[in-house]
Structures are given as C-alpha cells and as structure tokens.
Symmetry: C2
Subunit: 333 residues, 2 copies
C-alpha cells in the first residue's frame, strides 16, 4: 500500500497541513520538536510525496516539454543537454519529443504536452513548418523557439543566433584563403536558418567581388548522406570547384568522405567549412573547419529564459547574446 500524507499525519499525530508544511520547508511556524517527529516518521515509512496531487492544487507541474526534430541528429543532444541541465538545476523535469520534421507529430505533441500540463515548451520547429498551425495557436503556456522561429506565434521568445553573419564570416574567410569557386551544399531551403546561411554566403561572395559559380546551390537535407550525394553530383558533372560551404557539419562530413574516396586533397585542392561544430567535427581527420554554434548554450539559455517566464512574467529576462564564431581547423588551408 502506498503511504500518503495522511498516514504520516496519523503516525506523527499531527494534521496533514503540518506534514505538508514540513515537507515543503514552509515550517517557520512549526516547532522543531514537531518537525523532527514528522521527519522521523517520513523517514522510516519511506513516504514519497505525490507530485501529481500537488500539481492539482498548485497548477504547476515543474515539467518542461522539449520538441525537436530528431535527437539522433548530432545537433540536438547538446541542445537537449543544455536544456536538461538548467531544468534539473531549477527542479524541473524534461519531456522529450521527436517530431521527425512532421507537422502532424509536432501538433500532436503540442496538444499532449498541454494535456499533461507542462509549465512551458521549448520548440525547434521542423524544417517543413512554414506557418503557424491551429494547435500552435491555442497554446496558452510560455513557448521558447530555438534555432528556428515561427512567424505569428505570439507570447513566444526566440533564441536564435545570427546565421547570416556566421555564414558570411565563413565564406569570407574561404575567399581570403584563396578559394574562389565555392559551392553551397545546404539543408532544406524551407527552413529559416538555411535561407539565412545562404544569404550570408551570397553576400560574402559579392562583398569580396567573386561571382558564385552557376548552379552553386545544392539543397537537400541536413544529413551526412546528402553531403556525400551532393559532392558526388558535383564530381559527376565535372563541376569546377575548390571550396564547399556546407549547411551543417553532417553535410560537411559526408562531403569529406566523398572527396576522400575520390582521392581529392582536402584542404589542398578543395576547402570545406561546416556549420554547428558538433563533437565529431574534431574527431575526424583532417579536423573540420566550421562555424561554431553554441548549441549547449542555446539550450541552456532557452531553459533559463523559459523558467524565468514561468516563474515571474513581470521582469523580462535578458537573454545573453549568443554569437557564432568560426573555428579554423584542418579542412581549410
């Protein structure tokens, strides 16, 4: 049989109110004799408070929802870790949801999370989401969007980094290192970050006075397979290139693999720059030059701001400015 607060009250010969106060540390008005008696009973009975019951009355579950496309994509574990770390630190718990870039699953999760009364949601929209859905519209709890924001979602806060700037810096650097025929193998162009990175790429080239090669944009998804495939296409049609700016590190790793198989020298013949700086970027040889996105930090900040919104809507929480920066390693000369 489960032991409840009533059992404790009975055994300690006090009221449930008193037990509740002791359990929650609101014991200014409890004599230390009573407190110790209660605590002793709790200890020996193995009492575990039922947070579901408290949630009923406090209307707080101390639970956050995290919706991401796929935890299996190396970008997300670090993000998730960042979120979980703040959550844990602040006494919150995290529900993980993988949307698989499916709008239906996203919506289903949003409803589900609300039914479970989470206190807030951290949300990285799928790359196919171009507009707000009805499920999203009826969200009444705080939402933080990370990495990809959604037009029209109100009461949201966004954690984004300047993708355009990151791409700009990367491509500019490539040019200064003497690469002149730079292609861009990107993720799905429906996603905002992809669009922004593409823009940065274009601007960098134009500012440096170099023309983008024709058919310079190969757009696919954010996978290693696509990077591999993209380079294969380039190679097959005998494209003239000496640099590839990739939409993310996975793509870059795939590209490196394809180049390596054909015996193309990286960085001598072709330079490569990725995006994200996932753990694996330093585990390959040559190590990948990439635009570091502060993934963990983004998650951490998202969690911090969300919890802030939950706890006191009054003061607007400052979000520290998150910057990308170029990490120069071995895939550029």
């Amino acid at each position: 049989m489960k032991v409840t607060i009533k059992d404790i009250a009975r055994l300690a010969e006090v009221s449930t109110a008193t037990v509740s106060k002791v359990v929650n540390g609101k014991d200014e008005k409890i004599s230390s004799a009573t407190r110790m008696r209660v605590m002793a009973v709790i200890e020996e009975s193995g009492y575990v408070p039922n947070r579901i019951a408290s949630s009923m009355v406090t209307k707080k579950t101390k639970t956050l929802g995290l919706i991401i496309p796929d935890i299996t994509n190396p970008f997300f574990p670090e993000l998730a870790r960042g979120v979980e770390d703040v959550a844990n630190k602040e006494g919150y718990t995290l529900i993980l949801c993988n949307s698989d870039n499916s709008l239906e699953k996203e919506d289903a999760y949003i409803d589900m999370l609300q039914e479970k009364m989470v206190d807030g949601i951290i949300f990285t929209a799928s790359s196919s989401r171009t507009e707000i859905s009805s499920a999203l519209k009826r969200v009444k709890i705080p939402v933080i969007t990370v990495d990809r924001d959604i037009d029209g979602l109100k009461s949201q806060k966004k954690i984004v980094v300047d993708n355009e700037e990151g791409a700009y810096e990367a491509v500019s650097y490539m040019v200064t290192r003497g690469y002149g025929k730079i292609y861009h193998i990107s993720g799905p162009m429906t996603s905002k970050p992809a669009q922004q990175r593409y823009k940065g790429y274009l601007n960098a080239l134009s500012d440096k006075g170099v023309l983008p090669p024709k058919d310079h944009l190969l757009s696919g998804d954010y996978s290693g397979e696509w990077g591999f495939e993209g380079v294969k296409r380039l190679l097959e049609k005998d494209a003239d290139f000496d640099g590839i700016f990739c939409g993310n590190d996975l793509i870059a790793l795939g590209a490196m693999k394809a180049l390596h198989q054909k015996g193309v020298d990286v960085p001598g013949k072709v330079g490569i720059i990725g995006y994200d700086d996932i753990y694996m970027a330093q585990m390959v040889s040559p190590e990948l030059t990439t635009v570091k996105q502060p993934n963990y930090e983004m998650g951490y900040q998202a969690g911090r701001v969300l919890i802030g919104m939950i706890q006191g809507a009054e003061k607007d929480i400052e979000l520290e400015n998150l910057k990308t920066h170029l990490v120069i390693r071995g895939t550029t000369r």
Copy 2:
C-alpha cells in the same frame, strides 16, 4: 480562464460523467446525438482535458522515465529514440534524465521520477555503479535496465546483448585477417560491458593461440579523447602493435585520429575495430569496422517490455533476442 469538463457538461447540458465517457471513447452507452453535441461543444470551446487530474484517479500517468549517463554520448540518442518511438506509439510520454555517471544524480532522479508517478523506468546505470543503492531499493514501479544491469535489483528486467560474444567475434576476425599484436583500449573497467568485452577479447586471442601483448589493456572512459590519448601512449612508448580493439566507436574514432596524425596506415599497418556502430562510424574515412550493437532496437524493446509490464503483469513478455554482429568496413584489411 481554463475550460474544464464541468464547463463542457454545463454547455452540452449533460453530466460530467457523460463528457468523460465520450472524451475517453467509452461511449457505448451514449446515444450518438448526445455524443455529437458534446463533441461539438468541446471543439468550439477548445477544451483540453487535464491529464493530471485523470492521473489522480486512474493512478497512471502514461509517462516513462529514461535515465542514461549522457545524451551527448552518441550511443544514447539512438537508444533514446527507440524508447521514445514505442512510448509515443503506445501513448506514453518520456522524461529524459542525464545522470553524468554520478550515483547521487541517479538516485535523485529515481526519487524524482517516482514522485512524479511515472509508470516505469528505463535505466542505464552509470559505469561507476557497482551495487544497488537505497533509492534503488525502494523503487516500487517496473524498471528495465538496459545495457548495464544491476545485481540485486529485483523486479527488474534486463535488456542486454552478449558483449562477450561480440568482442570475441571481432577479435577473432582480426586475427584471421592477419593481425597478431592486438591491444585493447577499453572504457571504464568498473562497467559490466567493459569487463565482458575484455573477456571476449582475451578468449578470442587464446582460442586462436595468440598471446596478448604485455600491458595490452589500456582502460579509460568511453570518449574520443581517451582513444586519442590511448594511442598516443602506445606510440610514445614505442609499443609494437598492429591492431586495436576499442571499447566503443568513440574510442576507435579517437584512435584513428591519432594514428592518422602520425601517418600510420589504417588498415594497412594497423587494424581497428570499434563497438556500437554509431552513425559516425560510416561517415569517416576509412569507414570504421565495428561490432554493431542494435541501439535503437534495444531502446525499442526496452520500451515495449516495460509498457507490457505496466499494462499487464500477468503474461511475461518475451523479449526478442538481440544479437550483435560484426560490420566489416574499411579499418581492417
């Protein structure tokens, strides 16, 4: 103002019991006229049922807890994904907990999960856990241990694969390919899988009649850095070796990097085999030969069995036998 089941009942002019029945599909005894009226009211009012309240009475939260050392380690996202997929399919939700291989955090999470009344827990113990803790002892809900089991935890089920066999197969293969001086760079030897893999390594060598080199075991943690470091040590002390069997893929990747930096030919001069077959194993060049562990499958099965235990303790759920197998790629000749 939140709209509750009472509001719906009032608006549809029925009792809350009736609303509850149609919401939960227990509507055999409800006329379709009434049902439609109720559903219409629900629709236009934007009613969202409060699962916390239902959990109060049903004593089920439809929530599972997942405790792993670190989602950032590439072994775990796939596992987690497997769990989440069944969970979602069966209408459950998943709480993610990173223990960082800390016993205190593990225990804290176990208590927390029970307070939140999860229906069951999936647990990959930290590598430092050698015995059962008091928190673990007072667990009253079903627990499945994955990958690493815990002695003395009753009412648990285990999902494990035969680590010894996997290691045995890998090392035997290396020997048949002509590698004779094989070192083992392992994870922490406090963890069971590490011990079992080591045993498999030893048995394979002895069955093949080759002697393990002296000081053949370098034990560290399951990270790329450790693999890198391990090989560096080997190189520094001028060890005579032509093969490395690694405790996991991360270690293997680190080892490859170190070898590559020194210009050592893989697989010509030195062969490498990893363990796990993480996504990255195929993204590097040469592609990593490794023992595939069905990570996703393990998670999926763990979830399936756990949900089975939760729903009907009667019939013991058969767990399909999970086998490892050697995936031969480019780091062995």
